[in-house]
């Protein structure tokens, strides 16, 4: 398959067993093509986050191969993980700083990223002065400063209320259309997965296996009202069905 050779991320039969003997992943085998948005849903504790940790190199696979087609990686955690003693701007500039970029360049990139996530004017605020949704935006902006080609999301909006979450979903999609990164997005919300993705992977309970790989046929841009169409509901139903099987 030509797609596999140019993939932004490819897992070849990846297993992960931890030192204590628990098996988190068995035979994970999938690829994310450039410009593709792939979500992973599954019961909690099924090894979804392990998938991301292995993809990013934070953890090593026990067996199998992982190919990452780029060194420009974005990683958005469950929490905003901002440094509480830094202003929003200093936080957004952190990664550029770690990569040794010059100050003027950091400033330029942070201003651009803050504008992309709609936080212009909040650059001098401290993280605790922002709402949960705004903190998450700052976290996104921090990753955007490196213009990632592969974006890893670990349930980034899980702790937010539904209204904020849907708004951030809409905004994430416009970013996705603008920047055309490849994304691997972990979530436990089926609706969120269907709304965002080009494909949805369903994982089983521990040890995690990929049970289903479902194509989401909607074109981008996707309107918020897409969530209330019959076809959207049918896809959510199909995935929920797989999930019920996964938990049994």
């Amino acid at each position: 398959m030509t797609l596999a050779t140019t993939a932004a991320l490819r897992f070849d039969r990846v297993d992960k067993t931890f030192k204590d003997g628990t098996t988190a992943l068995v035979g994970a085998d999938f690829a994310v093509a450039p410009g593709e948005f792939v979500s992973v849903v599954g019961p909690s504790g099924c090894g979804k986050s392990t998938l991301l940790r292995i993809a990013s190199g934070l953890d090593a696979a026990s067996a199998g191969q992982v190919h990452v087609g780029t060194d420009r990686l974005g990683y958005v955690f469950q929490d905003a993980t901002l440094l509480p003693w830094r202003t929003v701007r200093a936080n957004v500039e952190l990664l550029a700083e770690l990569h040794g970029l010059a100050k003027a360049e950091r400033r330029r990139r942070s201003a651009e990223a803050l504008e992309l996530v709609g936080l212009t004017g909040f650059d001098k605020h401290m993280p605790h002065e922002l709402s949960g949704g705004m903190r998450m935006r700052a976290s996104l902006a921090r990753s955007l400063t490196l213009s990632p080609e592969l974006f890893l999301f670990d349930e980034p909006f899980g702790a937010l209320d539904e209204i904020t979450r849907e708004r951030l979903n809409d905004e994430l999609l416009s970013l996705f259309r603008l920047q055309r990164f490849a994304a691997l997005f972990i979530t436990h919300s089926v609706m969120e997965a269907v709304f965002l993705s080009t494909r949805v992977l369903v994982m089983s309970g521990r040890p995690g296996r990929i049970l289903a790989d479902i194509e989401i046929p909607f074109d981008y841009p996707r309107e918020p009202s897409l969530r209330f169409t019959a076809q959207f509901a049918a896809l959510c139903g199909e995935i929920s069905g797989h999930l019920r099987g996964a938990q049994a």
Partner: protein, 282 residues
Amino acid sequence: MSTITEAEKVALTTVAPPRRRRPVRLWRVLPPIGVFALILAGWYSISYLVLDEARRFLLPPPHEIIDVGFLDQRNLQALLRGLWLTTEVALLGLAIAIVIGVSAAVLMSQANWLEVSVYPWVVILQTIPILALVPLIAQWTGFGFSSRLLVCVLIALFPIIANTLFGLQSADAGLRDLFRLHGAGRLTLLVKLMFPASLPAMFAGFRISAGLSVIGALVGDLFFKQGEPGLGILIDVYRARLQSEQMYAAVFLASLLGIAVFLFFGWLGRRVVGKWYQASRG
């Protein structure tokens, strides 16, 4: 002497509760003043009603303490010189304890084997009653300034090491991952993440040790009665001479010094980390 867990508990309770600035209200100020008045009244009634003239030296009335201890120029001079010397020992001892304590904690946070092998001994140093060591210290280092300093450092060291180490290890795991993901080395991780994250706990440690350093300076004084007299020596001398007004004045100054150092480090801690720490826990 406290154990590890107590020190850490102190660290948590002294830093954690978010404090909001409220306008000073009458009902916040009046009760403590009322208690102060009650204490004074109780004091006077013991001085004048319970104790007869001959035994009044056990608890001289407050105004006589002020009269003799603070308004008499010669007594005041002696007390202030003692206060100065004790302050010098306490602050220098605290400064040395801070440098050693923070460095030790940083080193232990960088090398697990170091923590595993050294930390138990640090705990043991803390559980040894320092008072029992004082005669030994006298034998080794004499009766002068340096012995007083050593006692002071030994007493003040532990809370700083324990709190700083706890603080260094408290940095968020997600943030550690983020730094690692973007190729941050040990030094970067320490300087940009772990050290700033440890500041609230570190300052809680400084505050506890500030009080302890004053105790250390007084204890050193009481035991090494040579050289220029600090407050500890003065207290003992006044006690022996039954000059209880001066003795109470010296006790009062020593307490004031402890409170002042404690408040100073509380204030400094709020200046350094208050802007983000208390608010981010709120």
